[in-house]
């Protein structure tokens, strides 16, 4: 099979030489590609449709229920993208789970680290909550908040809890789907009431977006932490009879 990226080459001496030639060729081609693309990019910037969507997007922000234009794009104009992106995260995590049980955790941390963890983690959670709220009018939002929660999980696992502070498997599963579920149900509910899928009435928009973002924050945080754990929650695995770690 011809496989430019993964081939293993038998005869080392000659192969190395051919390898070098190929690399040189590739480098030249890629350099040409880079230069050409930059030139074309310059052309596009110059001749392109200058305001693009910016003016329109900014002009409609007051009707979106949020003040931060990026959040307006993410959760209102292009909410559907965001919904699907949550699904991507879910798919990745389910993929990770399908590959086997979680590997063993780390050694339980010493008192200094444990002490630090015990005040960093609550801080991260509070910071996450702040991020979530501030996303309405300034940079921030569900992803930033979720990332902070996920980081808290990473720290907890590093400190020795193999489950990264996550609840049992059943609860984890519900928390994981929470973001997409709330998002979808809100969208469908709006459709049912005649507004159209993911079409928020301006009056309700703010609260619906907050609801979706809160659910999404939890789901993202759990998904990131669980991804870091790197496998199925171990309690369900018959191969690995370790008891599941309880949240502290």
């Amino acid at each position: 099979m011809t496989d430019p990226t993964f081939a293993t080459r038998p005869d080392p001496a000659r192969a190395a030489e051919r390898d070098r030639d190929l690399k040189l060729l590739l480098a030249v081609l890629l350099a040409l590609l880079g230069v050409t693309m930059t030139a074309i990019y310059a052309l596009a910037l110059n001749a392109g449709a200058a305001p693009r969507l910016a003016d329109l997007a900014l002009a409609r922000v007051p009707q979106t229920g949020v003040d931060n234009p990026v959040t307006a794009v993410l959760l209102n104009y292009r909410a559907y993208d965001t919904l699907m992106e949550l699904a991507v995260l879910l798919a990745a995590l389910l993929g990770i789970w399908s590959l086997g049980p979680a590997p063993a955790g780390f050694q339980r941390s010493g008192p200094v680290l444990a002490g630090m963890v015990s005040w960093v983690v609550p801080l991260l959670i509070v910071a996450g909550g702040y991020m979530l709220w501030v996303g309405g009018y300034a940079p921030g939002g569900a992803f930033q908040a979720g990332a902070l929660l996920g980081a808290a999980g990473v720290i907890v696992r590093l400190a020795g809890d193999p489950q990264a502070g996550l609840p049992g498997e059943a609860a984890q599963r519900w928390l994981l789907v929470l973001g997409v579920l709330v998002f979808t149900l809100v969208g469908l509910g709006l459709m049912l009431f005649g507004a159209g899928f993911l079409t928020y009435p301006p009056k309700l928009a703010k609260w619906l977006i907050l609801l979706i973002e809160s659910a999404a924050t939890l789901a993202i945080g759990v998904a990131l932490a669980a991804a870091y754990v790197g496998g199925r929650p171990t309690a369900t695995s018959p191969l690995d009879p370790r008891p599941s770690a309880q949240p502290k």
Binding site: L43, A49, L56, A57, Y77, A91, G95, T199, R232, S237
Partner: protein, 490 residues
């Protein structure tokens, strides 16, 4: 603003499998039941969508109630609907098959949520009207497909699907750069708006051509166009049978659909004979090389996977003919033939892989040279392979026979007769690799007493194969109507 009731199937086709995936995740003990119910309602939504498009023509829905430029649009025209209908019926068959295929609880829990996510991604991809949304859909598709492909858990499967994932990522990032170029030049992500802008701004030809090159190269990697096909055979051959069926029949087709969509809608003013010839030449190489490798394959599923490489190649042969044929009945016929081949391959390849999976489960392996006894013990399965195989060859009365007929007709009519030679060689090779398998089914084993031994697995395989042969070949007229094409005597 369109009636929500009219456009509801558009949303439901995407949202129903998504919801199903969520419940299958949250309620792992009931994953199979959730999966089957979801499969049924999603397929019903796809049928409803088809009926709606049949009656009213293209459906278009701007989500969020904003100006089309600002928001994401869903759209179902004839091409999208034909593929959605095919994909959903095939996916229903795969679901029924899968409900009996997986035995071990962990596999069941892993399969269903990922499978329903993949399904949602497929429908989302076919129905998307926004280039960036398509990027997200491509990633959802790629990630769930790679995860499903690795489900057998053996080393080859993991290695192949890791490679598949990485190559797919490279493809979608390349695609995304093209999207970024288009946004820079034209300030929009909506397919319709972009198409108009590209047609109106001839001075941006260089940018548009570069964007097209990037996007189509990225997608060609995902569609496994020769010589970018290297990742496909190991990934498809090592996945569990229902997943192989979905990957080969549907996922690759989705990438091709996007290429076609870009080619026909977005970049229509930019495309030219040179680009079409290049793609068709690669397609020819795919037809010949894929068929040849299929003929030489030692394993049944590997054979099927290489056959996919070849079959995708045929679809690219249509491009230079589309360029050379002026608007009119002849071009309509060509476009419909293209869709017919894609749809037929979807049904046939799914049926083939499902049947191959049964053979593998029964024999404990899928080495073609040692399959004789198993093939004889399972007449219905062998029959499904035979039917699907005739559709892969393009024998009458399969849909691909009609497709190849119209393809050759237009190749002769436009003077591009050399594609006929490629088609003939590919067809002869396909016959050789299909009958290489079928000839093992005649041996001196004891006679099987029954035609069907395992209905839940054999009936879906048979039905899918039968659709590719009998239904699509003998009644393909409705496809023209669905596509809104007149066709008729060319």
């Amino acid at each position: 603003m369109p009636e929500p009731a009219m456009t509801a199937p558009l949303v439901l086709c995407i949202v129903l499998p998504l919801l199903g995936a969520l419940f299958a995740t949250a309620l792992p003990g009931r994953a199979v039941a959730v999966g089957i119910v979801t499969a049924l309602v999603t397929a019903a939504a796809a049928v409803a969508l088809t009926l709606a498009v049949w009656e009213q023509g293209t459906l278009h829905l701007v989500l969020g109630g904003w100006e089309p430029a600002l928001a994401i649009a869903l759209r179902a025209d004839g091409i999208a609907t034909a593929l959605v209908l095919m994909a959903n019926l095939v996916a229903l068959g795969i679901s029924v098959y899968a409900s009996g295929y997986f035995q071990d609880a962990i596999r069941i829990r892993s399969f269903w949520p990922l499978w329903l996510l993949l399904w949602a991604a497929l429908n989302g991809l076919f129905l998307a009207g926004d280039l960036f949304n398509l990027y997200v859909m491509l990633e959802l598709l790629g990630i769930s497909a790679a995860a499903l492909g690795a489900l057998t858990g053996n080393r080859e499967a993991i290695a192949a699907n890791l490679r598949y994932l990485l190559v797919g990522l490279l493809g979608s990032i390349t695609y995304l750069l093209g999207v970024a170029f288009l946004y820079t030049a034209h300030g929009s992500l909506d397919i319709g708006i972009l198409a108009a802008a590209i047609a109106a701004n001839e001075q941006l030809f260089a940018v548009d051509a570069a964007a097209m090159t990037l996007m189509i190269s990225g997608l060609a990697l995902k569609a496994a166009l020769f010589p970018l096909h290297f990742w496909l055979p190991p990934a498809h051959a090592n996945a569990p049978a229902p997943v192989s069926a979905a990957l080969s029949a549907l996922v690759v087709k989705a990438a091709f659909y996007l290429i076609l969509r870009l080619w026909l809608d977005v970049f229509a003013p930019v495309t030219g004979m040179a680009a079409a010839m290049l793609l068709a030449l690669l397609g020819s190489a795919a037809v010949l090389w894929g068929s040849w490798r299929a003929l030489r394959a030692a394993r049944l599923k590997l054979l099927a996977a290489y056959s996919t490489v070849a079959q995708i190649g045929y679809l690219f042969l249509f491009l230079p003919l589309l360029v050379a044929t002026p608007e009119g009945p002849a071009r309509d016929n060509l476009l419909a033939a293209l869709l017919l081949m894609a749809v037929t391959h979807g049904f046939a390849k799914a049926g083939f892989f499902l049947a191959a999976g049964l053979v593998q489960t029964n024999a404990g392996h899928d080495r073609i040279d040692e399959l004789g006894g198993t093939a004889q013990r399972l007449p219905a399965t062998t029959f499904a392979i035979a039917l699907a195989g005739s559709a892969l060859i393009g024998l009458p009365p399969s849909g691909s026979f009609i497709g190849k007929w119209l393809l050759m007709q237009q190749a002769i009519a436009t003077g591009q007769w050399w594609w006929v030679v490629v088609i003939l060689a590919g067809t002869a090779l396909a016959a050789a690799y299909v009958f290489r398998v079928l000839s093992r089914a005649f041996g001196l084993e004891p006679t099987p007493l029954r035609f069907i031994t395992d209905p839940r697995a054999e009936v879906p395989a048979l039905v899918l194969a039968l659709v590719s042969v009998a239904v699509l070949g003998l009644a393909s007229g409705p496809l023209w109507t669905l596509l809104g094409l007149s066709g008729a005597d060319a």
